[in-house]
Symmetry: C2
């Protein structure tokens, strides 16, 4: 565990759960694909879910979020991008020590819109491959009009922190004899069998990336 990248990303509460290691944060960012982007308009915070991808030390955030965010991000307004993977409910003997197992990353910084059409196309490919590896090559590529109509933002992963809680409940020593079940209910996001588009030629082969979709990564 190394030092936090700034005092703003230091984990204040339950600091023992703070993880400041870049590789650990990237494993979390690579398993997730939905982030919650926070931005401020006239003093009011907004939090919008959207898809993202990571390439090297940059996050690419899809512009399907509110256009009120994008107008501002264009101007270089500060953002916070948070990715949360929920791993389980932790049932302790005492209500107070109930918890959740999770892995989360917070990235602070200034996101800028990717303006150059060539870089934007490459960013869209990165996003697509992050969310659904293998799909890009098999779909109809974006044309000039579509590239123009899509907003992608780049956020350098400079100021960040991760927070991780795993494992069984931790009860107060005097509670271990309390007569109730204790343990973890593991939670997992799973993909069910793909559903054909009603207008699909039913003879179309379902690709492997749709049949066995999973966010679990090796390592």
């Amino acid at each position: 565990m190394s030092e936090p990248s700034s005092p703003r990303t230091r984990v204040v509460r339950e600091p023992e759960r703070g993880v400041y290691d870049r590789a650990a944060a990237y494993r979390i960012l690579d398993e997730g694909f939905i982030c919650h982007v926070g931005f401020v308009v006239d003093g009011q915070p907004f939090v919008i879910p959207t898809g993202y991808g990571r390439a090297g030390d940059n996050l690419y955030i899809h512009g399907s979020a509110a256009s009120r965010m994008l107008r501002r991000i264009d101007q270089g307004v500060p953002v916070c991008v948070t990715v949360t993977l929920l791993d389980g409910l932790v049932l302790a003997r005492s209500i107070f020590n109930h918890s959740m197992n999770y892995r989360s990353v917070v990235v602070l910084g200034t996101a800028v819109a990717v303006a150059d059409p060539k870089e934007k196309l490459e960013a869209l490919r990165l996003l697509s491959e992050h969310i659904l590896p293998g799909r890009w090559a098999e779909a109809r590529q974006p044309n000039e009009r579509e590239i123009k109509a899509t907003l992608v933002m780049r956020l350098p992963i400079t100021e960040f922190s991760a927070k991780v809680r795993q494992g069984p409940p931790i009860d107060d020593e005097e509670d271990y004899g309390f007569p109730t079940w204790a343990g973890v209910i593991p939670l997992e996001m799973i993909a069910a069998a793909p559903i054909n588009d009603p207008r699909l030629d039913p003879k179309t082969r379902v690709p492997g990336y749709a049949l066995s979709y999973s966010r679990k990564r090796a390592g």
Copy 2:
């Protein structure tokens, strides 16, 4: 579909996905139990995941989020609470029309810390029952010290909006002949078999709420 509760919660992008009906928003809030809370410190937005519960027209947010948020919320700083349920990946023929199926709710407002110990205990019960119905009665109840050490915030659900996308991909008419698979990969959060705490008496019966945990609600 009724009118948005304020211009700030009007869905700007893809307005056809906006849902302003309170009952629809509450169904989403009741299926979820993790929210992302946005708040502002010195002009910088922060987004922190935490547990919540709904009781009537109030959200109760658990104070396990950063203490830097709680210090401010105590003072009545504006927050944004966003709940997102991810339902699937939507694979269109064109990259441009790829999408996700989801249901999300955004609540804007001023959250206040619940100060009265009796109201706080009741709020903790609501939170616990929202996340894990049935657990409260079977665990060791919070004592005075623990109630004091726990922070719960109340956010009235006044200014809110929901956004929903469901169903198959919508391609441009001229793309329907493009030779690739198209459809939906459904995604779902599921609970796996409960894991006993290593220090649990192995003869302890696993309760039903842990054996068959699910967020799906009737209706």
